[in-house]
Amino acid sequence: MDNNFLVIENISKSFGDNKVLENINLNISKSEFFGLLGSSGSGKTTLLRILGGFEKPDTGRVILDGTDITNLEPFERPLNYMFQSYALFPHLNVFNNLAFGIKENFTQKEIEINVRNIAELLSIEHLLNRRIKQLSGGEQQRVALGRCLIKKPKLLLLDEPLAALDKKLRSKTQLELTTLQKKLKITFVFVTHDQEEAMSLSDRMAIMKNGLILECSSPEEIYENPKSLYTANFIGIANIIEIYKKDENFYSDDLGINFKLNKELKNTKTNILLRPEKIKIQSINNLKTSSFNSFSGEILEKSYLGSFTRYEIKIKNMIISVLDQNFNSNSNYNFPKGEKVICSWESESIKVLED
């Protein structure tokens, strides 16, 4: 696969004294579904707008399919941008919104055919004569998508593509969007603040914070092996435990237990990550507490989530989250509040956070 389809090179951008992007470097492959994830103010939208040509970077280059597009106007770029608000033209109906970008270069007949095809692809054939205000949020999203895809762009940029949809529609559209992207093989780069959305859509994703890219990898890699404390906390639920070297082992003051690590550590003091679903929870009667990789505690809170039950377990000075899969259909299987339990985990489940 061509790893250099979209190259973002040393991009920096400031608005006045406010540094929004600092030396961003990214390589995105052809046909990749790439996510930019960050909280508001992380610079992710500015980066997307630089790719779209709506902002000029202070330094750096953007190279798309071998061509430097840094100084091209938006209307000269072989890419399209889907706005968070969709930015559909209220004075035109759906047909003319879809045809807006191709009216120049095609005959009336070709326009007709192209619009029909794209409408069929997105199942909006029945909406062509509607006005924009008569459409639901989901329908508007499809029209906005269609208006871009009809131009057969090399690259599609999506700003919070699902943010304006309600929750149920969102998960359905998520699936459709990935299917569509795999079918069309167009490179998608999207921006989101929603970690679930980023994880489910992206082939690879970049975590952004304060104008920097903290990590860039597959969702699995970022979830399982985050490098930084920020990423670990940002993606999913995280139990972060501070440990330090004590004799041959590592000790946590907060939990009052020893940790056995598979890995040698550079520092004598560090943070480790323990994901809540990696922790096994057992009744205290079944087992004696081992001095390594386990602790006993009391269930403080419990929330039943259907496929999982989430427990908040208090041990010494800390509250640890545990997700326990509900294997058993017997509702009595769950541990009640206030019960003493033993939690344990495999040594491999402990991830050392570098910073």
């Binding site: 779209g52 040509g53 709506f54 106007e73 938006p74 209307f75 770029r77 399209n80 941008y81 706005f83 608000s85 930015a87 559909l88 033209f89 209220p90 004075h91 807006f100 970008g101 120049e104 006005r131 924009i132 205000k133 208006r147 871009c148 131009k151």
Partner: protein, 295 residues
Amino acid sequence: MKNKLFEKYFVFSPYFWLVLFFFIPLAIIFKISISVSEWGMPPYQDIFLFDNGFKINTTFENYVYIFSDYYYIGSFVNSLILALISTFFCLLIGFPLAFYIATSNIRLRNILLVLVVIPFWSSFLLRVYAWKIILQNNGILNVILLNLGITSEPLQLLYNQYAVIMGIVYTYLPLMILPLYGYLNKFDLNLIEASKDLGLNRIKTFFKVILPLSVPGIVAGSLLVFIPVVGEFIIPEMLGGSDRLYYGKILWEEFFVNRNWPGASALAFSGIIILVLPIVIFQILYSRWSQKNEI
């Protein structure tokens, strides 16, 4: 109960205003326009006579008089042309300004808006008079032109229709800019970016997106300029010459110089009907159109 009464009064107060200051004066003008003129004070006869029983004393001769003389119709046509040209130039200058103000950052926007409104703080008459000083034969503009050697003798800049158009465009420009700004202020700038993203350059984006979506603002601003300019009296009087006669001036002369109140009233009333009727029809058609197009 008291509150309800107050609410009713509150809701209907604009109508009281309209009746008191628009419909009653209009009715009075109409009444005078169908009166028989005579020498006296007031210079017309009553329309209801009670001398030998009740008698209605009206005439349409004043209207016949107005419409049979091209002097009156011609001046009205001149005023319509003047209003059209002035509105066009106000739009040409006002639209880019309003768009620039609406899209600039909040601090600059407030400064620019104040600059637009500032001329209103000084007297309208003074501002027009200032133009007289600038444009007269030994005025600033002619002095500059002479000293730069562009002309060898002073140009006749004042007392012609061009001076009138310039004066009107200058005075009425804020009335075009403010409603346009009010409308463009709500304009979703993403639409412009979307249009560019879909391959349209700036000029095409203007004609395909910005202009069609600005129609309501353009209509509002244009009407606000066009209607008062048709009856404008002071600017043609001060800056204009004898090359063109305008409706406002003829009306004034008919009333104050000729003391033909019924004739002047007929002229005024005809002017209102000719001007207002098409605009009302236009507004009805336009509101239907904009409802259909949901702009």
